[in-house]
Structures are given as structure tokens and as C-alpha cells.
Amino acid sequence: MTTAPGLPLEAGDGAALVARGAAVVSREELRRRSDELAERLRQEGIGRVMVVSDDPVDVLRAIDACARAGADLWVAHTNLPGAMVEELSREFRVQLQIGAQDEARSVAAPTADTEPATDGDGAPQARIFMMTSGTTGRPKVATHTLGSLLAKVRTSASVSANREGRWLLTYQPTGFAGVQVMLTAALSHGLIVVPEERSPQGFFEAARRWEVAQISGTPTFWRSFLMATPPGALELRQITLGGEAVDQATLDRLKERFPTARITHIYASTEAGVVFAVHDGLEGFPKSWLEQPVQGVELRLRDDLLQIKTPNAMQGYLTEAAQPLLEGGWVATADRCEIVGDRVRILGRQDSTINVGGSKVYPLAIEGFLLGLPGVVEAKVYAVPNPISGALVGADVVLAPGSEPSEAKKAILARCRAELATYQVPRVFRVVDAIQVGTSGKKG
């Protein structure tokens, strides 16, 4: 490897890096804690680490120390249930869990197929494994390296345009988007502002206290943030929207409220990272982008579905892939598009995935959960369009004979609220006599 691995955090640099409430962690403090961890990894010969924490300090400390000590790092998504984290920890033979307390674990010796990958020169290159969210079923695990993650951040223009920015962290710090925001701040000498409470009011109070000027969030986040933020309370320089397709009305409201901010919406995929960014305040992207590469990326439509070809594609999946890789390096997305004048509009997913405020809900998984509850004999889960969150989860359920519908509904919803993530809970719930089955034998 030619460059020193790790994040650009210098000893003696007292600038704040992470702020939460009134407390801050400086760049040198993070450097010191990361040095300690890297030293422990080297001394104890630890090569397999998992960070289990929603504190950005722990996530950054783990990323930096593992890159420098050459250890593979799994980032456990905050939304995963504890039992699943345990199972993955065992399966990947994690030797150390990073969190509020770092915890050594006893594991069997690694086998050949789990040895670290090597780069072109044969030197070991530590990998970073990121997980999809979701409390039902196993998460998908995507493989990156710190180098590939930083390359994506560097090319995203957020770094050069927002030197010493103050970023509000609206995403979970353990997800891909959250890590991107944190790495952007680390690279551009910026500040990561963490809300004490993940509510519209909590986000607003954190933004006001630290005079945040840069915010990246989903369109759903922005719609609720607009409602919690009085006019004139914040002076934003950079507004970024991602995670779901954005509509023109939301872009217009943001422009009206924050007239001097640059408004960017980004298109990203799990496979390719950030694919392109649009800054002109219009939904979709220019049709001319289908004819010539833009921002190093080629775009094309096939059967109205967007396909992309990018040099930043991730290195592969540890588990099964979500999107098929086509001949010639093209990735087929499931995003349906239409051309309107000189613009390409993104209409949403072609598959049945429900996007609730930027969080993906897989109907089959929720149907499986409902079917596991007492008294439920059939279930169909579907998207209900919604102006606030893009979509909500709807569920039709057929009950076993003899069940009392209103009692059963209450009991089922109580289990959903207790055992599913809030965005997965059916908000529209109907008890029905039967669910229509199509000619293919699938639920229509």
C-alpha cells in the first residue's frame, strides 16, 4: 500500500470532531483512543473486530484503528436485534467487540477462507463489512475497505465545498449513509453533531446549539425537520437529500426556507455507493446524462429501469447480492424511471420493497412475522403511499376461525410494536375474510 492507512487525525489537533449535547470529543482525543485500540489489536494479534455501538466515536475509533492495525471490521447495524448480532459475531469469529466497553471474545482459530484479503502487492488490506438494517431475517453484508469508502467521499464534492463544516448526523452512525457523513467530516476538518434524541425536535435543538450549516438526510427527514424548525432559526449552507427519490414540492419548500443553501439530491445504491449528485433544484436528473458519462458514471435505461456503471462499485457481498451485475460492469437497479421533457424522473422501486422514510421494508419478511403470530392464517403486506413518509406499511390479515377480530387486531399490533422496528409496524391494518391469489399462485 502506498498511503498510510487510517483517518487524517493528528495528535495536537484540538479541534472538535464529535459533539453531543454539551460534550465534545476532539480530533486528538479520538486519535489517542484509536492509538490505544490499534496497539491492543497489534499486541494481541486480533484480526477480526465488530463494532456494536451507535456512538460515532466508537465507530470512527474502530474504523481508524482497524485500518491501521490491518484488522477486518464488521459494523453491526444499530437496528439489528441483539440475538442476531451475537449470531453474526460467532459466525464471523469476531475476537473483539467495540462499544461502551470493549469486550474480548473467545473464538475458534480462523480458517483459510476467512484470512484477510490482499491488495495487488500482496499486502493485507483490512476490510470493512457493512450491514443492511432490518430486524427480520439476516442482514445483507457488503464488503468495503477504508480506502474505497474514502475514495467515494472524496469524489462527492461535499469535502471540498464544505471545509470545516458542521454536519448534523441524521442517519444511524452504523449505516452506509451515516458512515459517509462521518468520514466527510473527518476528511474535511468538520464537526459531527449528534442529536441527544432522534426526534424532529431533538434534531432541531442539536442543530441550533451547534449552529449546524450542513445537513444530509432523507426527504422524509427533511419534511419533518421543516415542521420542527422555525423560519430563520438556522442558516444552512448545504442541504443534501438521499435514500429515497425526492419530489419537487419538497425541494421547493427547502429552497424557500433556506434560500442561500446549496441543495443537492444524491442517487446512491448499496453496490455502487453515491452514483451521482444533482444540484439544480429539480427532481430527477437531466436526460442528457443518459448520453454521456457524468461524474465518472454511465447511466442508461433498459425497460424503463435505471442501469449504472461506476468505477466506485463495492467489492462484493459476503452474503447474496441484492442487485444483479450485468455484462460489461453494468449494475441493474430496480428503480423505474420516466422521461419528461429533458428530465429523467425516478418513480420508485420496481420490486415490492416498501420505502418508509428511507428505511427499506421487505413485505415478505413482515408477512413471515405476522404468520408466526397466534391466530394469523394468511397475511399480505403492501405499501400505502403517504405524503409524509413516502409510504407506510399496510397489512391485510386473515384470522383463524373463532378469533374475535378487534381483540386479535389489538394483540397482533402489540406484538408488532414490541418486536419490529417502528418503520416496519403496519400502520394500516385490516382483518379480511380472504386474500386474493393471482393465477401464478402468488398473493396478488
Binding site: 415542521m227 419530489d247 403517504n386 405524503p387 409524509i388 413518509s389 400502520r427
Partner: protein, 81 residues
């Protein structure tokens, strides 16, 4: 429907949501900020509320896109015919 009727409907739907979440039911009026922190509802709860208001009133003021609102009164105004 009159604004007052719609405000009552909002009060009832919010009360249902709070009860389901195991929170204390709060009385709201036209000036209550829906996401202002007093009520204890989040944006997904608000999404649910809007969906149920559509069923109650038979109107969908958001059919052309998102319209901004902050208070219960501003939301009620969107449904007044």
C-alpha cells in the same frame, strides 16, 4: 366538515396513537405544534395520522404533493371544505 370537527378528529386520532404507544394522552388545540415535542409523536405517527384523516374526511389535500404545516390548526385547515 367544519374546522372544529376536524380538530376533534385530530385530537381523537392523536389520543389513539399515544395510547397505543403507552404515553399519556395530551389535550391539543389549534396552536399545538404536532412535532414540537409536546405530544410525543414522531414523523411516522404523523404519517399515520394523515392517512387516517384522509379516511375520516374523505379528502386528500396532499394529492398534488407535500404541503407544509406545523400546528394542529394548520393541518385541520387543509381538510376544511
Amino acid at each position: 366538515m367544519e374546522k372544529q370537527e376536524i380538530l376533534s378528529a385530530i385530537q381523537k386520532l392523536v389520543a389513539d396513537i399515544l395510547e397505543q404507544k403507552g404515553l399519556d394522552v395530551v389535550t391539543l388545540d389549534a396552536s399545538t405544534e404536532l412535532l414540537g415535542g409536546e405530544l410525543g409523536i414522531d414523523s411516522l405517527d404523523l404519517a399515520t395520522l394523515v392517512r387516517e384523516l384522509e379516511e375520516t374526511t374523505g379528502r386528500d389535500p396532499f394529492s398534488e404533493g407535500f404541503i407544509e404545516f406545523r400546528t394542529a390548526g394548520e393541518l385541520a385547515d387543509l381538510y376544511v371544505r
